[in-house]
Structures are given as C-alpha cells and as structure tokens.
Symmetry: C3
C-alpha cells in the first residue's frame, strides 16, 4: 500500500510549501504539484471510503486532506510547462504544475471542499461540470460567484451526490483559458465499490492547441485550425499506452474540451458507451460501436472485454487528428514531376514542404524535413515493423495473456509490457509475399 | 383568454394589409408581422382542437384563419431587420418581419394550408422538414414543385399526420437563404393534450452568421468561419432567459441550421433527449446526459425536472460559440512583455487587438476595445457578481420555488423573475477567502 | 443467373491480365478492374454460401476465386481516374481502377484471403475496419505489419467472424491516402440469409476532396476547407438514385471517411439506425430520426419502410455539402446596387463571382458563370419542375407503386424508373397560385 507520504516522496510530486506561511498551512491544504508528464501510479485511498482508483494517462490524482470528515483539495491555477511529446514543450496554463490538472477522485456521498488559488495573470473560476450542487458553487463567474482575482484563494464546497464521470474547467474568460489547457478530470466512485466495477479504468481529456512551428504558446483565438490534437495535452508518440490482461473488462473514460467532435476508434473489438457525465446508460439502451463520436463538453465511459491479444490501435478517426504540426494546409505536389517546382514554391511559401515530388508523400516527409526547434514531426513512433505513420490523438491498447503486474495495487500494473506482439492467424501462416516471390507482379 | 384581435393589437404585431386588395383579402389570410425581437406571450388557440402552447425564445407564434375546417397560415418570405442583441442589427432574410419566422403550432390531424408569398429578390420554396406529406407538397424546388418566383404566392396543403417537433426552411438556393436567416419552428401538438405533457415547453432554432465588424449583411458563402452563433438569430446578452418553478417538468426543443454540431449543456441537472424530429424516444432508450450534441438538420426535445433553485447556465459548450465577433483568429500575446509589440503588429494587422499584453486576456479586452459601429463586444452580460464572460449561444435557466406568474395562460408566466439568485450550501457557508484572509498566499 | 465469366464480359469490367505472368496467374487471383463510375448490377454469388447482394452506388462488388474453401480476392492499390460527375474527372488513388475500391461481400464464417498489390508511388497497407481478426492481420503499418512497398503484394487472411457493415482503408500515410480516395465498402452477410433481411440494401462511403477549380488532383493537406463533398467519390448530379417499391423495407448503409460529421436526411419518412460497424442495434434501443448524424470513421445502417410514393430528397443537411466547388468563401453582394463594384472586386479577387448583384444569388450564378475546365457548377440537376439547386452529397430516393424490375436477381432491379413523379394531395388539388391569380400581391 502506498502511503500518502511515500506517495509524495516517491512519485515525482513536490510539496510547494515555500510560498505558504505557517498560519496559512494550518488553514489551507498543502499544494502538491507534478513536474513532469509521466504517468503516476494510481492513488490508493489512504482514508475515507474505499474505492478502486483510476489510471490517468500521462497524469496523476490529487491527494486530499481529511478534515472533520470533509475531503479538502487544493488546486492552484498557474502557468505551466507541458512536454507535449519528447522534443516539444508548450507554455500552457494548468493546475498544480501541469496541464491538464490532477484528477480528483472522491466517493459518492463525500463532502468535498476545494481550495482554488489563482496564480494566473487574470481572473478565473472553476465550474464543476456535471455535478449536482448548489448554484452558488457552480463556478460561473459573474452569475454564481465573483471571479477569483489573481492572488486570491476561493473555496468551493459541496457534496458529491452522484457517482460518475465528471471534469472541471474555468467558467471565466473560458475561451482563452481552455485554449491554454486549463481542465482536469473528476471521478466520483460509487459508494459500493462493487457497483459498475471493471478490471481497468483509464481516464483522459482531449484538448487541441494551435502552436506555430518553433513557438511555445498557443494562439488562444484559433477557432478551427488547430495543429496539435492531444489526449491529456500529449501527442503521440508521447501518449501512454493502455494495458489489459486477456479477458479483462476495460473502461476508458474521456472528455472532450476541443472545438470539434472526436470519433474515438478501437481496433479489433466492439465497445459500448456505458456511461456519460449524465449517468450510467441502461445496458438495453447501449449501442455496439467500434468508433464512439464524442461531442464537445461531453464525457464518455467506453467499455469492452479485452478478447484478443495483441497491440491494438486506439485513436481519433479524423486523419488530421493523428498528425502533428506542419501537416495541414501545405500545397500538394502528387503527380508533379519537375524537381524545380518545389524550390520555386519554397521561395514563395514559408515552411513549404515538397510532398510526393519523387513519388513519396507525407510518410517520407516526416523523416526528411529539418524541423524548427520545439516542433514535433508530423508523425512518429517506432513500431516493431518500422515507423508508425501516426501522431496526435493516437495510442495503443496492449492486451496480453500474461502480465508481470496484474494486481491493480501493484505500482507496476499499468506499465506497458515490453515489446509489441502482433498475433497472426493461428493455423498456417499466410504467405509473406515479398521479394522474389512469384506473386509479386513484374 | 387572449382573443385573436386583442392579440394582434396588444402584442406588437402589425397587420400589413395595405398592399393587399379587397379581392385578395377574401382569398388570402391577412399578413401578420412582428417588428421586434421581443418574446410574445404564447398564442392561446382561439379555435380548433385545444393544446398547451409553446414559448418561442425572442419570437412568436403565427395566428391562423380557420376556414372550412382548414387552418390557413400566411408566410411572407422577405428581407428583414433583426436585432441580434442590443447594439447590433443585421440585415437578414426571414418571414413575416423577423428571422427566424414565426413558430407554427397545429394539432395532430389538422388539415393545414400554407400560403407563401415571395417578396425576396430571388426565387424560393419551403420544405416542411420532418413531415409526412404528399411528395408534391415537400417543397424541393425543381424536384417536387417549380420554384416560387419573386412576387408570387404559392399554396401548400397537407394534413399534420404526426405529433412532434419540426421546422420549415427553403429548399431553393438554400445555402444562401439559410445563411441569410430563413427558417422557422413548427410544433404539431398531440391530439390528446395530456400526451407527453410538460409544465414548460420552450423552442428555438440555432443559426450562425458571418457579419464583418461594422457590416450589416452576412457573407452567404462562408462555410466554417462564422462569427455570430445564435439562438433564434439572437446572441447573448440578447437571448431571453427561460423560467421554471422548482419541481416542474421542463422541455426545451431546438433545431440546428448552422454548419456544425452544437453540444448544448445545462448546468446542475441531468437531461434526456425525449424526442427528435423523427418522433418520441421510448423512455428505456434514452441516455442521461448533461450535454446534448445536436447535428445539423436535427431537432432535439430535451427534458428535465427543475430540481435545484438558482440561475443555471444553458449554452453551447464550444467555447467560441459563446463569444461574439472579433474573438476569433487574432494573434495571441500571452507572455509577451514588450509594449511596443502590439503597436507594431497593429500597424500590420487590421483589427488587431492586444490580448493579455499586460497580463490580461480576452476578458479584459471586451471592456477596453473601442468597437466599430453595429458590432457586439465579444462577451457581455451583467450578472449579480460582475460581468459574465459569455456571448453567442448562451442564456440562463431560472428556477425558483415561487414565481409571480405560474399559470401558463397568464401572459406573464414566461417572464424572468427579477434579480439573480445563486444558492449556496444549505448548512454553514463556505469561507469567502478573500482580501486579508490568511488563506491568501503572499 | 449471371455467371462469373459473363459478369466480367458484360458489366464493363476488364481483366487486367497483361502484366501478370502465367506463373503468378496460378498463385494470384486475376485482377478485375472497373473503368467507369457506372453502377454495376449486384454480384449474385456464383459459389459459397448464398446471400442477397447489396447495391453499391456508382460502384460494384469484387468477384472472388474460391480455392480450397477460401475466398480469395485481389485488390490493387493504384492511381485512378474518377469521374466526379459528368464534366469533371479527378486524379485519385483507389483500388482496381476506381475510387472507392470495389465492395467486398462475404458470408459470416467465410475464411477470406486478400491479396493486396501496391502500384502506388509510396508504401501502403490495408486496415479491415471493424473486423475481429488476429492483430497481425489488422493492417497498421509499423505496428502490426511492415508497410507494403511499391511493387509488392501482401497477403491478409482471416475469418469473417461477425456479420455486419465494414470498410477497408489504408493505415499507412493514411491522411494522404484517404484524402486521395483510398477506401472501400465491406459487407459480411449473415450465415442465415433470412436474418436481418430487407428488400433493398444500398451501400456507399462519404469522402471529401479539395480540388482547385481547373485542377485534377486533390490537395492532400487540407484539413477543413474541402470543396467537393461526395458519396462514393461522386457529386450530384452524378450520384445514382435509389429505388424502392411502395411498402418495401429499405436499408441504406454508409460510412464516413471525411473530416467532419454528416447529418444524412431523408425526406418524407422516419428512419432508424438499425446497425453500426459494431453490430446490430436492439430494436428497443433505436431512435426515430429524420436526420442521422454520422461521425468520421463510423458506419450506419439506416432502415425505413418506403411508405409514400414519389421522389424524395436524400442528402447531407449541411448546406455547403450539397454544393460543388466555387460556392465557398467568396464575397457577398446581396443588397449592393452598384454595378461597378463587381468589376472592381473581380480585378482584385481571383475567381470572384458577383452574387445577387442584380437581385439574384447563388442559384442564378450557377447558370451564368463561365467555369474553368474540369470544374462542376455549384449546383445542378434537371428536375421535372426546373433546375434543382443542389450538388455534392445529394441524391433521390424514388418510391413507386409499380416497378418494371422488382426481382432483385433481375439486373434491372436497381435502375431508376423513367421520369419523376411528385405526388400531391389525394383530394382536391391545392390552388396553383400563379400568374394573374388574385392571390398574388400587387
């Protein structure tokens, strides 16, 4: 069992106590921050009602202080630096050191008190999306509370009335603040830990950024032309894989805070949407799907049984959302033979890249182009069979008959197994028709 | 009971009889027009089968003439002036004086005759979206009828076979005509007034416009980059609030005639989609939601029980759709310190606005920028706790334990209660951690 | 019964055997290609388990070779020329001569072997979207297999485990390759031909292209601003109509491989989504709709009973998606009187078109503008009552009490009946209020 102290010491989190007086230490819960985009082991609850924790992709769960039966959390809205993927960092706004902020996990019936400290250069607020609560706690600046000014700490308090899948985000200058990465996941576990139980429970939020090649700060007024599409402010190959043992029931919960729908596709399995931020869906009302379309401001709890071993792609099915920057809006030269043309265009168009001029296309470009500093290639990821032509909202669901860590209380349980296994037909293998094979046309 | 004559006299509607001969008066129903964007009291049916009327946000219901058992309506397609919100008017095309046109309310089994007069500078037609009718009445110009030329009056006639939620819009040069605001709501009430009965029933259509700052007429060829996102051609703070008494069952019906999905989010309550333009959904097949994503050309009848008092935000969850013009596509200067930069950029970029150069962002801009004539600020709305940073597709659902007008036949029943109440935790109030509070970090 | 040989000879398909040796002929199934965008008669299965075939709009089904109980298909990825509609051809990438590739039809439990020959200038792979299969057969280049290099033939083999609606597309440089038109439909029929049986079963895929006026090759880096919205790489008026006899049960299956949702609307009838690529939906869980919104990477099997005779529009409800090129992003001059303005703007803006300068709008423009070579007018289609102002994703569902061909094994069964019938009110006809009619306002 991971204790709270060892969790703080051992998991890369820092207690940012320097700026807080002794007096305020007594009143405010300590500030726990994350310094990196590494996934932390799920937080085993040290007190309060028991529950089985979720795993946050490239993220972590915020510890609380139990005080007079109330769970007290301390969120700090502040500028952060987020590694989008190895090779690129973004200057975002987030909570407690990272964007998105930490996941909040409580239990149905818990009374919770959220201290929110504003270290941003402008006012903010937090809306507890999907919760039943008094309207004065709802977080809409101007309507249900005054905005929280820079330097202030505001306190929200309500009971977690309904088990389910939620999120939190600002409701003050929210276009700017969500475009800068301010958001976090919230799970209210059922009072009975056996209710709606699954073997694996992953969570993440979808966000999009428009960061010009070579720049660090998003353009916050972009409405449509985003160039970075992320799960938890990470782009492939920077996104954690998900792991399950063959036969397990798996839940993946996600929310969408971009500006467009995302059709989330799992290979090799059928899934159902078992719940939304509005509650659980009666089994008879669920639709079998392989691609779940999620609207903006919606949350989905997708479920499936890990029935086939192997490495299965899990991604947004909009093809541009599985590419990183510099793949959108450049001229096409497929079918163009003249080698001079690319040079002529390059003299006119900044960042112009010749696509398929020699019979190649984006796949070749990704390798060949020199990139500006702090810019991801369009696609990346090394697979067992060569480069994987994907970026952005893409990761892999790894299903194995045997896993080294299969107790969810073991800190290693969520770690990806080494190597990648693509299982083929069980009987005679199909012919690998390559090289000098007669089936290859002349 | 409001009579038809007193309704005409008392509710700001004008009978535009001047241009109609005596001869035609006998044949055509009189033209009833609206001159403003104020919400009218729901139209109590003076004859025909009884029903409980709907309330149209910033709109009204068209009176009919009962003739030989047929309900005759007269729609006039024409250029109109629509106030989008106080401070901005748009030159649109609509019906009977406004965009959208008036709501049509009939009863299942009614035989209806729609006279459509074209006062536009080009041909038009009307498609009665979602209705079962003879294909010759379906309104697709060229396919099911000749287009209605300028100056002509065309007559549609069919039986309202199916109770439910519908709309009408042109099906001739429809990209232009819908981009100009031509659309209207249609409700067919069930033959049994107790069927599917609710306490409050609100209706509106969603439309989007691209009107350059300072201009009056939409750019009708815009496919994606709209800058005004509206409910019934109104943007917040110009949109009517909705009202309900605590415990009432509320229905909100809406249709989408923009070019993208809109995820409609209600705070503090779970909702279901109880019906579509295709019919009512069996209760067992409904999903609990807090955000209902509506596709283009779809209609949704959302329902919920008003279970918590207060002022609850109701809005599209795409953050740019709760902003008005001038918030999209401008450079970001978050983190930029040099004061000169803004001036340099401003010399290069028309309409450039410095965002957050002094540590502020959009929220500050809205207040500080001088606006061109006839342009809404990005966000607006005065709340009890200061400015509400919202525009566009945003309004408020006001739920109260007591209402001054709680009989739906009372013309005041839909009027918003004065003031805004944000209810807080019932027990001890949470500490308002402000000012000299020790919880405020140094 | 159409035999395989007569099918090849009679249906416009060519056996491209020239480039294949005798040796390889023994190992590889012959390559069957289509040379035009004409719809072929559904392929009656010559061997294997019986099933009732589907009809592919402007497409065809690939014949197979039965070998040792395995159905062997041969797909060739290659550059193709596709007629988008009469008057415009596009240079795309596809399979076996056309884009999209041929439909694959197999039966639940069939063991299938897919030979894929790459004749593109870059590597590729095929992902069998929605299928249960060994992960090594899943087609993600780099992850589950090496990419198929130009000139190579790769072999996939798996059992069609689940009856339903599927598609295939590349999973290597897929943004480019799907933007170039690489995709195809796949139907796995149930083992029991009576299961889920309907009278008519139509299939197509939705794709979008950005081809500049006068050009032939799509811009493959476009993320949003497409100008051609197609069903099976065809735009109206080039899309086949669908046909049904009054009272028949009709299924229309479609998949979306564009970059945005498409709300598919049928006039005059209510529909249900009876299945997805994830499986069939329990009848109690279906929603009545008139507009079905399909996300990217999703498939929908829509069903309805053809209950009303006539010609019924069937189209995407996003108005710009029922227009062809040159209708998006040009200035509006509605309300502008000066005739000189258009000339002044035209001098500044390439491809500028005056819209409604004389009181007309897009509808007039379509007729009046000289078009660049190889460019479709914005809208087209001659109807019985004049021009139909539609393009792109639009076609017509023709429902008749009597059809010349009503046995699905008759090659003519899918052919559109001659002429167009718009049925009107059965009783007294509504007055056609035109010309000198007193109902026409002065």
């Amino acid at each position: 069992m991971v204790t709270r102290r060892s969790f703080f010491n051992g998991a890369g989190l820092a207690v940012a106590a320097a700026a807080v007086h002794k007096a305020s230490l007594a009143a405010l819960p300590e500030i726990v921050s994350a310094e990196s985009a590494h996934m932390r082991a799920p937080l085993q609850p040290p007190d309060g009602r028991p529950y089985r924790p979720v795993a946050t992709l490239n993220g972590w769960t915020l510890p609380w202080r139990m005080r007079n039966g109330i769970k007290e959390f301390h969120l700090v809205a502040e500028p952060v630096q987020r590694e989008i993927a190895p090779g690129m960092k973004a200057h975002l706004w987030g909570y407690n050191g990272q964007s998105p902020g930490p996941t909040i996990e409580v239990v149905e019936g818990d009374r919770v008190r959220m201290f929110v400290t504003n270290r941003l250069p402008e006012h903010t607020s937090i809306h507890w999306h999907g919760q039943r609560l008094p309207s004065g706690m709802d977080g809409v600046a101007g309507l249900s509370q005054p905005a929280i000014k820079p330097g202030e700490t505001y306190v929200y308090e309500f009971m977690a009335q309904r088990a389910g899948t939620f999120m939190y985000h600002p409701h003050a200058d929210e276009t700017t603040q969500m475009a800068m990465g301010m958001m976090g996941f919230w799970v209210t576990h059922p009072r009975d830990p056996r209710a709606m139980a699954v073997d694996r429970d992953y969570v993440f939020l979808m966000s999009a950024y428009d960061i010009s090649p070579g720049a660090y700060t998003p353009n916050v007024s972009t409405m449509l032309d985003f160039n970075l599409w992320t799960f938890n402010s990470r782009a492939y190959p920077g996104i954690d894989p998900m792991v399950a043992r063959l036969g397990e029931r798996v839940r993946i919960r996600f929310g969408n805070l971009t500006m467009t729908n995302h059709p989330v596709h799992l290979h090799g399995h059928e899934v159902v949407v078992a719940g939304t931020d509005g509650g659980w869906i009666a089994p008879a009302a669920r639709w079998p799907e392989v691609t779940v379309d999620i609207g903006v401001g919606q949350m989905r709890a997708l479920e499936f049984t890990a029935s086939a071993p192997g490495d299965w792609a899990f991604h947004c099915h909009k093809s541009h959302h599985t590419m990183n920057a510099m793949g959108h809006g450049v001229p096409t030269t497929i079918g163009v033979e003249e080698r001079d043309l690319a040079n002529q265009i390059a003299a006119l168009v900044p960042n112009y890249m010749n696509m398929a001029g020699d019979g190649g296309a984006m796949a070749d470009m990704s390798m060949a182009m020199p990139l500006p500093e702090n810019t991801l290639p369009m696609t990346g990821g090394e697979g067992p069979y060569g480069s994987i032509d994907m970026g952005g909202m893409f990761t892999v669901m790894k299903i194995r008959a045997d896993l080294a860590h299969d107790d969810y209380r073991d800190p290693g349980w969520y770690r990806a197994p080494k190597g990648t296994v693509a299982y083929r037909w069980e009987g005679e293998p199909p012919p690998a028709a390559r090289g000098g094979d007669p089936r290859k046309p002349a």
